[in-house]
Every structure is written in structure tokens, then in C-alpha cells.
Amino acid sequence: MIAIPTRADRVATSPLGRANPLATLAVALAWLLALSTTTDLRPPLLVTAVAVAAALALGRVPPADLARGLAPLWLAALSVGFFNALLSPANADPTATVVLAFGPIHLTEPALAAGVALGLRVVAIVAVGVAWGRVTDPTHLTDALVQQGRLPERFAYGALAALQAIPWLAEDLVALREARRMRGLRASWHPRVLVGLLVLAIRRGDRLAVAMDARGFAAPGRTRYREVRWAMLDTLVVMAGLAVLAGIVALR
């Protein structure tokens, strides 16, 4: 049988996919931290552009995938920006230029600027998060968290197994709704469906825990199938990430 390279494999073999997830995580966190210290318009725009470009070029994330991840972002950014502008105390300032007046509602220039800046920051934060999420394989991240991050194995791999169970949860939901339909009941969001979902999830969790223990999960002296090391590439990723950030901050 010929193994067909999947979308995830293309990402996994890309420079950012091969990098230690803790390196990319460090860069992402540095960017997010820097964003929270600025109210300028330019840094969030640049960070967004760099994050998207890096995910596409260095992470080989398919553009359609990235677009899907970013889809809810626009609504969030618009609503955060809009309401912050509308409810800003700057609107009450009689000396400020009024951009828009509609009955009792006044929208002043400083308030609008603050709203736009906030909206752009939301855009940047979500873009960095989505880009990091798309180039990071959960198994790779867990391995790195355990091996370099010194996270307890029981917690890390338990959480990873729980993450694997999320698609099952979706399938359980489909199956339960199908079961309702085949009993002549509406397949809607009946509370019983949710109770059933919970029961199935708990049972699956129990079984998974027993299966993990039966395969020696609790045993001391656990070895590693995937060794995650800190390589040149990772240092390079961190340095490049910080350099880009320094450049963006300097430009302002």
C-alpha cells in the first residue's frame, strides 16, 4: 500500500511543522505580549500579515484551511471595535471632533480611533493563534511539553487522549440524533440527547483510562518513540520571530 501524503503531513514536514512546538509557541507568545503594550494601528496589521505569511509559506498550511480558521475573526473584530468605539468615554468629550451623530449617539474621532485599534488587535491576536494552531500537531506539542516542558506525562497524554476523543463526541451526537429519528422522535436538541452524549463521553473516558493503564501507562521508566530535541532550526525560529517583532516595534 502506498501511503498518500495528507494535508497534515505536508504541514508536519514544513520548516515550522518540524520546529519544536515550544519554539513557535514562544514566538507566538512574545508577539501577543508585544501587541498588548501598543495602541498603534500599524503593529497589529504587520503582525497579522507576518503570521499569515509565515503559516502559508513556512508552514505550508493550505490557504483554504487557514481561511476557514480565520473566518469567525472578522465578526469578532468588528463587534469588539464597534462597541468599544460606541461606548467610549471619549464620546462625551465636547472638544472632540464628532464623526457621526445620530440622535443621542455621538461618535467622536478619538473614540473611533480607539475602537479601530482595539479591533485590529483582536485581528492580530486571533491570526497569531490560528496560524500557530494550524502549524502545530497536537502529538508533537504534547511530546515537546513532556520532554522539554517537563509537564507530567499522565496529565499531558491524558489531555491528548481527551483531545482525540472530541471527534468521537461529534460522532456520538450524530448517532444519538439518528437513533432518535429511527424511534420516530424529532432529532432536535432534546435534553435527553445531551444527557446521552455525556453518558457516552464518560463511558469512553473510563474505557480509555483502563486501556491506557493496561498498556503500561502508569509504569515508571517510560521511554519515547518520538524524541523531541531543541535543534538549530528552533533557535533560528525564535531568533527570527523576535527579530521580526523588534522590527515591527521599531517601525512605529
Binding site: 502506498i2 482525540q164 439518528e178 498498556r215
Partner: protein, 472 residues
């Protein structure tokens, strides 16, 4: 009340014990205890003296106990831990302290031995039921354990897969390096491997213990009475599948459109990965149609399309001349019944009785008790039980009962005979036959050639989503 009581046996290194017993006799519970998982990992209390490798289970460090044991549980999907097949096989090796180069060599070999060569990077959640079972087996075999505990390991496998697995187990037994405890209803596959057979009775007490020959010579009537399958009644080969017996009652003339019809249907869950292509089926009242085919050939998908739970990408599906996906649930449930492969996901209430009665009309309620009794789930005994605490075979019969009680004109069954003891099987078969006599059309997707032969009727063989053979 104990699930299993008074069981005693000694198993020599490298020997093979087969555990047989009717559904609900505590076979799975016993398997967990033998695997050293009770009480520290699996719930329960253990009395008496259980020693593994000469060490008493109660006073041994759990990690040391499981280090030399490989277990495969009944439901393969809830024992796969990692996202990808190779990581999942490696998971058990990591826990047993294998070094990385040894793991790199062993993982592909273990996958190939289980018939999953080239599956290293496949996502475990996307595998078919049979493939998941193979992966669970690969994970248990990979560390080359001293004791293998297998609970119904062939339940989800297609007939060639089950046969290949039995041959592999025979080879393992030949080396006498691994002790095997095998819980299996397929006596024709399991008993030839056995040095010892432990037969349990319905209340979890031992019925007989001995070599297969001893049991057959001395205890045959007791085993048959307990509903235990025996090895000298092998499922008939595919060639022996018989034509339907002549009807004892004339049927009403078929209406102009067939009862159910699938026309040129294509279906894919993900674009570019077709599950079914160009499927054509026509089903008349009283028809019996058996869908056979290897794991992942699209049988379950065809079953779900037929009752409108999925909609085709191309082509049409009609039940009583209408698109079943657009028929209101109340009406559809009387036109068509569907028994899923995974009964746990079809339970909608906290007790057997409440689950069975859910959504029924007064007429249907009146006969619910009889249907349950006919399937060995008499409500005075089982009615107050939680469906999740039933054994695998009982769960499957409950999900069948809750569909049969509406007497739908089309009954679609997905693997109805998994985990059934002989009595459960016979109850199920006679009830389905009675419905066929009354004019119900039955479509069964199955790996069970015995059921295919006993049901009779038309055989449609699927291969890679297409009809490979349609034999009347």
C-alpha cells in the same frame, strides 16, 4: 451479586485458555480480572487468589503486573489512545521501556502483522471498525507480551480477517512463548486453539473446565442448554448460502414502485474519498438481502443511506416511493427500522423498559413486552436494568427489539449477530424470520456467513464501494 463466582484454573506458560459462555455470563469481567486490571484500573472487587507469573495480584505493583500482559477489549474504538496508528502501537512499547531504535523497527512490523502495512500515518479516528480492531490487536501484540488477554477479538473482522487472525494466534501458540486467554463466541475459530476451555453458565459460575475434547464428550448437553456455541457446527462456507425457502403464505402483490430503491448512488464523507459508487438496489416486501463485503467496503454506509440517515451525493434513494431523508420521523419509524452496529449509541433512556417504550403508540406499547421476551430480555428481569450495564449481546438485542416493536415494512440490520450466544442468535433469527413471513423486507449488512445462510435470500457483495456480485 458477583459477576463471576467460584472460577478456578491453572494455566501453564504458553497454554491457551478459551472462555465460553452465554451473553451476560461475566466473560469480559473475568478477562479484565485475569489481565490484572481489577481493582486498580477497572472497577470491581476481587476475592479468592489470583496469581500472574506466580505473583498474587492484590499485593503486586500494578505496573509490574501489566508489563508482560497485552489486552484487547471488546470495543476497539475506546482503546485507541493516540492520533495516528504508529503512535498508538508505540504507546504500549513506551510504557514497557522499549528503546527508540527497537520501537522504530517493531512498530511497522506489528502493523504489517495485523494486516495494516502502510497505515503508520493514518488517523485512528478515521479507520473503519475492522481496521480499528486490527490496530488494537497490533498494539497488544507489539510488546510481545507473556500473556495475551483477548475479548472477542474477531467481532469486527470480515471472514478472511477473522481466519487470518486465528491462523496468527495459532502461530503464536505454536511457539509456546505467550500464554493466551481468549474470550470468543466463534467456537469454530477458538476451540481448535484451546488447551483448556472454561465454560461459564449464565450466572457467572463455572459450568465446565477441561480440554475441548473432554468438554464435547462429557458436557455437550449442558453446553448446548446454556446457549454456548460449539466448534463442530462451523458456519457454512459462502457457497452454501441457500436460496430462500418457499413461502408458506402468499404475499400481497408488490406495489408499482418497489418498497425501497437505490438508484445509481454515489456517496463520500470527504470529497475525493468515495465510499460508495454506482450502488443499485431494489427491495420488495418480504425480500431478504444480505450485504457482504470486507471491512471498509461501504456496507454500513449503504445501510444508513437506505433509511435516509445519510443522503447520496448523486443518485436517488426511495422508501415507499419517497426520499426517506425527507419523511417525518414519526412516519419514517413505521416505514423503516434500522439497527446500528454500535448499540450503545442508540440508547435514549435510563432503563431497558423506558428505552424500549420510547416514542411508541399504545398498540406498540402493548406488544413491547412480548418482543423483549422473545429476544431473551423479559422485562420483569431486565426492565429496570440500565441499558449500558447489559452485556454486548444483550445490548444488541435490545436495540433490535426497539426497532422490531414498530413492525416497520423495511428492516435494516447492521451486524445484528455480533457477540450473540447460540440462544440469542436463535431468538433473533426466528423473530426476523417471522417478520419476513409477515411481509417485512430485511436488509442485513454482516460478516456472519452463518446468519447470511440462515436468513437466506439475495446476497450482494460489496468491494471498495461497488457491487462486486449480486446473486439471487
Amino acid at each position: 451479586m458477583p459477576a463471576v463466582a467460584g472460577v478456578s484454573f491453572d494455566l501453564a506458560p504458553g497454554a491457551c485458555l478459551v472462555v465460553a459462555g452465554p451473553s451476560g455470563s461475566g466473560k469480559s469481567t473475568l478477562a479484565r480480572a485475569i489481565a490484572g486490571l481489577v481493582p486498580w484500573a477497572a472497577p470491581g472487587r476481587l476475592g479468592g487468589d489470583l496469581r500472574l507469573d506466580g505473583r498474587p495480584v492484590g499485593s503486586t505493583e500494578p505496573a509490574a503486573l501489566v508489563a508482560r500482559i497485552g489486552v484487547v477489549f471488546q470495543d476497539p474504538s475506546s482503546q485507541l489512545v493516540m492520533e495516528r496508528a504508529e503512535d498508538d502501537v508505540a504507546f504500549g512499547l513506551e510504557g514497557r521501556g522499549w528503546l527508540s531504535p527497537a520501537m522504530r523497527a517493531r512498530v511497522p512490523a506489528a502493523l504489517a502483522e495485523a494486516g495494516l502495512a502502510g497505515f503508520e500515518r493514518r488517523r485512528t479516528a478515521r479507520l473503519s471498525g475492522g481496521e480499528q480492531q486490527r490496530l488494537a490487536l497490533a498494539g497488544a501484540f507489539a510488546p510481545q507480551p507473556g500473556l495475551l488477554v483477548l475479548d472477542e477479538p474477531t467481532a469486527n473482522l470480515d471472514p478472511p480477517g477473522a481466519l487470518a487472525f486465528a491462523e496468527r494466534l495459532a502461530a503464536v501458540r505454536e511457539t509456546r512463548a505467550t500464554t493466551i486467554v481468549l474470550v470468543e463466541h466463534r467456537a469454530d475459530l477458538a476451540w481448535p486453539l484451546a488447551d483448556l476451555v472454561l465454560a461459564l453458565s449464565a450466572d457467572g459460575t463455572p459450568l465446565a473446565l477441561g480440554t475441548p475434547a473432554e468438554l464435547l464428550a462429557r458436557h455437550r448437553p449442558a453446553l448446548v442448554a446454556a446457549g454456548i456455541w460449539l466448534p463442530d457446527e462451523p458456519p457454512p462456507p459462502a457457497a452454501a448460502i441457500v436460496r430462500p425457502a418457499p413461502r408458506t403464505q402468499p404475499l400481497p402483490a408488490p406495489p408499482a414502485p418497489p418498497l425501497a430503491e437505490v438508484r445509481d448512488v454515489d456517496f463520500a464523507f470527504e470529497r475525493g474519498i468515495p465510499v460508495l459508487a454506482g450502488l443499485d438496489l431494489a427491495i420488495e416486501p418480504g425480500d431478504r438481502l444480505v450485504l457482504l463485503g470486507p471491512n471498509g467496503s461501504g456496507k454500513s454506509t449503504a445501510a444508513r443511506l437506505l433509511v435516509g440517515l445519510l443522503r447520496p451525493n448523486r443518485g436517488t434513494v426511495r422508501v415507499a416511493g419517497r426520499d426517506p431523508a425527507r419523511i417525518a420521523p414519526r412516519e419514517l419509524a413505521r416505514l423503516a427500522g434500522y439497527v446500528t452496529q454500535d448499540p450503545e449509541r442508540s440508547f435514549l433512556a435510563g432503563t431497558v423498559e423506558a428505552d424500549l417504550l420510547l416514542g411508541l403508540t399504545p398498540d406498540e406499547r402493548a406488544r413491547a413486552g412480548d418482543v423483549a421476551t422473545a429476544l431473551g430480555l423479559a422485562l420483569d428481569r431486565f426492565g429496570a436494568r440500565n441499558p449500558f450495564t447489559l452485556s454486548g449481546g444483550e445490548q444488541r438485542r435490545l436495540s433490535l427489539a426497539s426497532q422490531l416493536v414498530r413492525r416497520p415494512g423495511l428492516l435494516v440490520l447492521d451486524e445484528p449477530t455480533f457477540g450473540q450466544d447460540r440462544r440469542g442468535y436463535e431468538d433473533l433469527l426466528s423473530l426476523v424470520r417471522a417478520r419476513v413471513e409477515a411481509g417485512t423486507a430485511v436488509v442485513a449488512a454482516t460478516h456472519d456467513l452463518r446468519f447470511a445462510a440462515d436468513l437466506g435470500g439475495r446476497v450482494v457483495r460489496l468491494a471498495a464501494g461497488r457491487i462486486a456480485e449480486d446473486a439471487p
